[in-house]
Every structure is written in structure tokens, then in C-alpha cells.
């Protein structure tokens, strides 16, 4: 555990000593802030119009009108930013040869992979934490339900972990950061939009495809619902790609 912790600390320090973490953090916060601003203005406009239509007012609430689109927008930004954050994780060290040296130390592969994964998760958690100012602003002017805000953030966190573990896996396959970035982005996007095919594939496959969809499982969280099925889905996806990373490290040795 001390070995995993040493790698975790080094990795975290590295990303905050270099520009990478700040670039990702800055862009992520700026864009999500912009999204929040435009959604907030839009909601404002609608509720203003709703004052003249009492029936419409009843179907208007902050969770559905502002928070849900906000969370789903953030999940899209994560799709763009997280692969950039994870692509160097293993690919860079492989290219520079430091990974070879790392693997001749008396550590298990898991120490290296786990340390790096957790460091990225921490950076991501800081990014996500930065957006929390948006819901806080709502509290200044209105009375949103705190429950859906909490579950929304939990869902986003789980989605992010899945993206990070996908990114870690593809970073372990190559020593080219660009290849790692593009493939992990592609695969993450695929799992995000896989649900689009649901209406066309017939009832049997529809269910299977739907179960694989990152978006479908996120829906509950954004409504304020914690379904064990959804939590299990994200945890399994994350663990699966971490497991694949370990396997890929082992197989690169044998294939070398």
C-alpha cells in the first residue's frame, strides 16, 4: 500500500507541477460555467413566460429544468477532457523507458496502475468539485432540492471514473499518447451513444444495448435516484477496464 501511495503522490504532484492539470481544470470549469450560465438564463426566461401561464408553471421545476441538462452537459465535457488527462498515464512512461525501470522494482503491477488511476480520479474530483459553485449559486436565489444535486454529482463522479479507467487501459496499450487519447475518446463516446441504436435493433438487443449505455444509467442519478443497478454498472465498467489494464501490462511483457 505504501508503494501504491508513493506512485499516487508522485503522479498527482507531477500533474499539478506541470501545466496539464491546470489546462484541463481551467478549460473544464470555463466551459461548464458557460453552460450553467446559458441554462440558467434560459430557465429564467421560461419561468418569466410561465408567470402568464399558470398551468405551465406546475410542470416547471429546478431539477428538471436546470440541473438535469447541466449534469448531462458536464458529462459531455468530461468525455472531451478526461481522455486528454489520462492519455499520458502509462504511454508517456512507456515511451521514456521509466516504466521498464518501474516494473523492475519490487512492486506489483497493481501498485503502478492503481496509483496512477487514483491520482487521475483525484484530479478529476477537484475539477468536478470546482463546478459545485454553480448549484451553490442556485441556493442564493431559489430553493432547489439538495437530493438530486447530491445524486447528480455522485453519478458524474462514477461516469468520470469509468472514462478514466477506459483511458488508463488504452494508455497501457501503446507508447503513443495521441493514439491512447484518440482511442479512449472513441471508446468512451461509443459507450455514451450506444443507446441511440436501441429503437432500431428489436426488443431483445434493445435491452442489452440499453444496459451498456452510459447515458441510460446516468438518467436516474440526474433525477435524484440512486439505483444499485446503475451504481453496479459504473463500478463494473471501471473495474473491468482496470483489470484489462493489468492484463495488457502482463501481455506486453510476454509479447515483447
Amino acid at each position: 500500500m505504501t508503494k501504491l501511495l508513493a506512485i499516487y503522490k508522485r503522479e498527482l504532484k507531477y500533474s499539478f507541477q506541470s501545466v496539464t492539470a491546470y489546462a484541463a481544470l481551467g478549460i473544464f470549469l470555463a466551459i461548464s460555467g458557460y453552460f450553467f450560465f446559458s441554462l440558467f438564463r434560459f430557465y429564467n426566461l421560461i419561468s418569466f413566460q410561465a408567470t402568464r401561464n399558470p398551468q405551465f408553471t406546475q410542470s416547471l421545476n429546478l431539477t428538471d429544468g436546470l440541473l438535469r441538462p447541466f449534469f448531462s452537459n458536464i458529462s459531455i465535457i468530461l468525455l472531451l477532457v478526461l481522455p486528454l488527462l489520462t492519455m499520458r498515464l502509462l504511454a508517456e512512461e512507456k515511451k521514456q523507458g521509466t516504466f521498464e525501470l518501474l516494473l523492475t522494482y519490487p512492486i506489483r503491477d497493481w501498485d503502478a496502475v492503481g496509483g496512477k488511476f487514483l491520482a487521475s480520479v483525484t484530479t478529476f474530483a477537484i475539477m468536478l468539485g470546482g463546478t459545485f459553485i454553480c448549484p451553490l449559486l442556485i441556493f442564493l436565489y431559489a430553493n432547489p432540492e439538495p437530493g438530486p444535486i447530491f445524486t447528480g454529482y455522485l453519478g458524474l463522479f462514477l461516469v468520470g471514473c469509468t472514462f478514466i479507467s477506459i483511458g488508463t487501459f488504452f494508455s497501457s496499450l501503446t507508447d503513443n499518447q495521441l493514439v491512447a487519447g484518440v482511442t479512449s475518446f472513441g471508446v468512451a463516446l461509443f459507450f455514451l451513444i450506444i443507446g441511440w441504436a436501441v429503437p432500431f435493433v428489436g426488443p431483445r438487443f434493445a435491452d442489452v444495448l440499453g444496459q451498456f449505455s452510459l447515458l441510460q444509467h446516468f438518467d436516474g442519478f440526474s433525477k435524484g435516484l440512486i439505483d444499485t443497478q446503475d451504481v453496479t454498472y459504473y463500478l463494473l465498467m471501471t473495474l473491468f477496464f482496470l483489470f484489462m489494464t493489468l492484463r495488457s501490462l502482463e501481455s506486453t511483457r510476454w509479447r515483447n
Binding site: L5, G97, T104, P106, D111
Partner: protein
Amino acid sequence: MIEVEDLSKYYGLTVGVKNLNFRVERGEVLGFLGPNGAGKTTTMKMLTCYLPPTSGTAKICGHDILEQPLEVRKRIGYLPEKTPLYLDMRVREYIEFVAHLKGVPKNILASDVDRALEQCGLGSVRNRTIGKLSKGYQQRVGIAQAILHDPDLLILDEPTLGLDPKQIIEIRQLIKNLGSERTVILSSHILPEVSQVCNRIIIINEGELVAVDTPDNLRNRLKKSSVINVKLADSEKSADAASFLSGIDGITLVKEGTAVKGSLAYILESRPDADLRREIARRLVEEGYPLLEIFSEELSLEDIFLQLVTEEAR
């Protein structure tokens, strides 16, 4: 200490190394010699448990590299070729990081780190960023991380590659000092380096073991003749020197060597076990030849190496 048994590594159909067998005893400094691509690095990577062998195995301190890789890794310090380091870290910070990974206990961690830094002469640059150090200092950092946990076995892959002559001398001295306490394997294609630092040499070529012996034994084994160089001043008297020299008992061959203007050089060969220097000098002086220099030539490791490698090719 190290027992290598039938160790082979194939990259697809290409041979990395083939059926290597050798043993290394505690306290030896072993030189791994071979042309580029001979399999030196491959062998070292297998000994460090980074690459699994295709067949065969090796034991280090009684631990099998396939069965107990963690135990083996605890006992080795490794410096790969090209010295991969985290260039963004500071020297001391990096060595501390490695100490954590190597499982150095907390209570001796600080003193171990300082000892490694002192031993490698890194005390003055401990707070500098590694990427901003000279290549020689980076190499020292690489060696420091290898010796950090006081391993039984040090494996250094081309430790003097890319250094300037002064740095090479310093690193060699450092390796010699380290070798007095522990077993060291070092690879190189620079022959004088190996003969200076190592007490035993393994020569491999195209993945196969060609010779294992001490530098002196290798020299003697391959010595086919002893060679003496003679230099005379260029005068009238020296004109018939070549025929006079070939008349001396025991000389089998006289060749003219290259000499600067105003002198004549001859290369004499005799039977390998004979030392004719005294006889030649006495005769030359008695006959009044203007003798400038006389010395016997040692067979260099370059010659040995080329002989072995070309013999192998035939």
C-alpha cells in the same frame, strides 16, 4: 549468486539469446561484452524479471526469476540503457520516491537516501531538477537509484554510454568502488572499459555465448605469437637492420612498421612463450645500431574480441 540455465529468448523467429549458461559468484564484477544487438540487454532484462524468457530460467540468490520475481527484484539494482529518469523531479525527491517503491523501512529511509546520494557524489545537487543536470550527473542519479536499497546484485546496462571522457573515468571509478562490496554485471561494447573494471568477461555474439573467462586468461588463450616493437634512428647504419633482426634466434617474422620521419620501426614476432627483448636489445647495441625504443605488445581485448567473433562466424 547467479545461475543461468539454458536461458533463451526469441522475438518471434528472431533469436534474442540462445541457450545461455553461466554462473556468477558473489563479489565478482562481470563484464558483458558483445557487438550491438548481440543480446546483452535482452539477457539483463530477463535477469531483472522484466522480460520473461522463452525457455530456460535463471536463479538469483537462490530465487527463480519466473517463480519468485518479487524476491528477485528485492535483491537487484538495475540501471537500464539510456538512463530513464523522471526529469521533472528533484534528485533527492526522486531517490526518496524510489526508496518507497523498494520498500525501504521508514526509520532508515532518510539515512539510506543520504548514503546513496553521498556514495554517488550527488550531495551538492540534491535539490536540483534531474532534467537540468548534465548527462554525467544523470547517470549518477541512475546508479544511486540502483544501489539505494543496498542490493546484492547490481545490473548496469552500458553505464558509460554518452558520457564525456572525464565523466567516464568518474563513473568507472564509482563502479569499481561499488564492486568491492557486491556482485556487479555490466554490459559494454567498449573493450578497455571492461578490461579495467571487470574481473571476468562474458563475450556473446548473435545471442550465443562465445567465451567466459578472466581478461588475462582470454589474452593468453588466444595469444598465437608474442610481438615486439623496435624503433631505430634513421641512419646509414640502420639500412640493413631488417635482415640483421631476422637473423636473431627465435624471431619468426620481421615486418616494417609505420614510423615518423627520421626513424625506422620494425614489428618482430616470435613464439608466444618467448621473451626476446633483452637479447634483441643487447645485439642491437653491440652492433652499434641506433636503438630508440623497444617494447612488447600485449594482445588487446579488441583483438581477442574480433578473433572470437570472427571465428564464431566461420
